[in-house]
């Protein structure tokens, strides 16, 4: 089998499996859930999952962990004072750039 064909099969598997996982719950759950525990659980899921993915990963993404930590603290402050997606992202990037410039 040619290498290109092999790569294409791999990629087709990735596309089908990844999107299959995404679509499955959406097609299975079509009605509002009444169960209070399940609703409460799903209410917390997005915030918990994003928080778990942010820390400590933000410290591992940068060259220096300190720069990542500083980006986390300043990003939280910026968001706390009402800044939106883009400004908070830019602040985090600038913080990392400046700190890594000096260490």
């Amino acid at each position: 089998m040619s290498d290109t064909l092999r790569v294409l099969i791999y990629i087709l598997i990735m596309i089908l499996v990844t999107n299959g996982i995404r679509v499955l719950p959406i097609t299975l759950i079509r009605k509002p859930i009444k169960n209070r525990f399940v609703r409460s659980f799903l209410y917390y899921v997005p915030y918990v999952t994003l928080a778990v993915m942010t820390f400590p990963a933000i410290m591992e993404a940068t060259q220096s962990p300190i720069a990542g930590l500083a980006a986390l603290v300043l990003g939280i402050l910026a968001a706390f004072f009402g800044l939106g997606l883009l400004p908070v992202s830019i602040i985090c990037c600038v913080v990392v750039f400046l700190i890594e410039l000096f260490i």
């Binding site: 598997i13 990735m14 959406i26 097609t27 899921v45 993404a61 986390l72 908070v88 890594e100």
Partner: protein, 242 residues
């Protein structure tokens, strides 16, 4: 809000996501190259998959000549969090939203697109999610293709700075609701703490980041749901997430 303006708002919010994507998918392109992907194949592969951890695992599997079944299993594990996310997203639809739009929204779900879609006030307008994906998706794909072409030429300093853009967005999504609801703030703080502990303690630190995310999400959200459940649905079944 009209469909068109929701789409435009999605495009606007999708742009910073796309910027962050670009940096991540650029580095992904460098790995994809090792698997033998051409820039064109890399572009379409990234456009239709749109999963950072999932693609990382996938391209590494291609490079190491893993079996097809191994690739299926690793893809399921790396993306299992989308099962949870889309369970939550399934509750954001108004009953008027048809199945085709629901499926398309589901397929659009990435960590970031999910984050902004779940933050939409009230029932989700699918056009918002589509607008964000229409901008961020191609930027993600383009980053991968350029990473395959030019991998390694972008200064390390620039990659390092760009790589926190995604986390900045996550913070902008989780901080405002933490301000409004103390239970969310405590759940977020507990998530930070436990996630950190899981990355340094012996034994548990060998768990992959994707699996750690799933385990901690289930445990922390379940504990929060038991300790501080959301109010019961009103009789007319209004939206409680607002």
């Amino acid at each position: 809000m009209k469909e068109k303006s929701a789409f435009l708002k999605g495009m606007r919010d999708g742009f910073p996501i796309g910027l962050g994507y670009f940096a991540v998918s650029f580095s992904l392109g460098i790995i994809a190259k090792k698997g033998g992907l051409t820039p064109i194949i890399g572009f379409f592969s990234s456009l239709f998959v749109r999963a950072s951890a999932g693609e990382y695992a996938g391209y590494t599997s291609i490079a190491t000549h893993a079996s097809y079944w191994e690739l299926v299993i690793i893809t399921v594990i790396a993306n299992a969090r989308y099962l949870l996310m889309n369970c939550a997203l399934s509750q954001k639809f108004s009953s008027a939203t048809g199945i085709v739009k629901r499926i398309l929204v589901g397929a659009c779900c990435t960590d970031e697109i999910f984050g902004i879609s779940i933050a939409w006030p009230g029932y989700l307008k699918p056009a918002y999610t589509f607008g964000a994906t229409a901008i961020a998706g191609p930027m993600w794909a383009l980053g991968t293709a350029l990473g395959i072409v030019a991998g390694g030429t972008l200064p390390v300093r620039a990659v390092s700075a760009l790589s926190v853009a995604l986390y900045g967005m996550f913070l902008a999504i989780i901080v405002p609701p933490s301000k409004k609801d103390k239970a969310v703030a405590i759940a977020v703080a507990a998530s930070f703490a436990l996630s950190y502990l899981f990355s340094i303690l012996p034994v548990v630190k060998t768990i992959s980041a994707g699996t750690r995310t799933i385990i901690l999400t289930i445990v922390i959200a379940a504990v929060a749901a038991i300790l501080k459940p959301v109010p019961d649905l009103p009789e007319d079944g209004g939206d409680v997430n607002e």
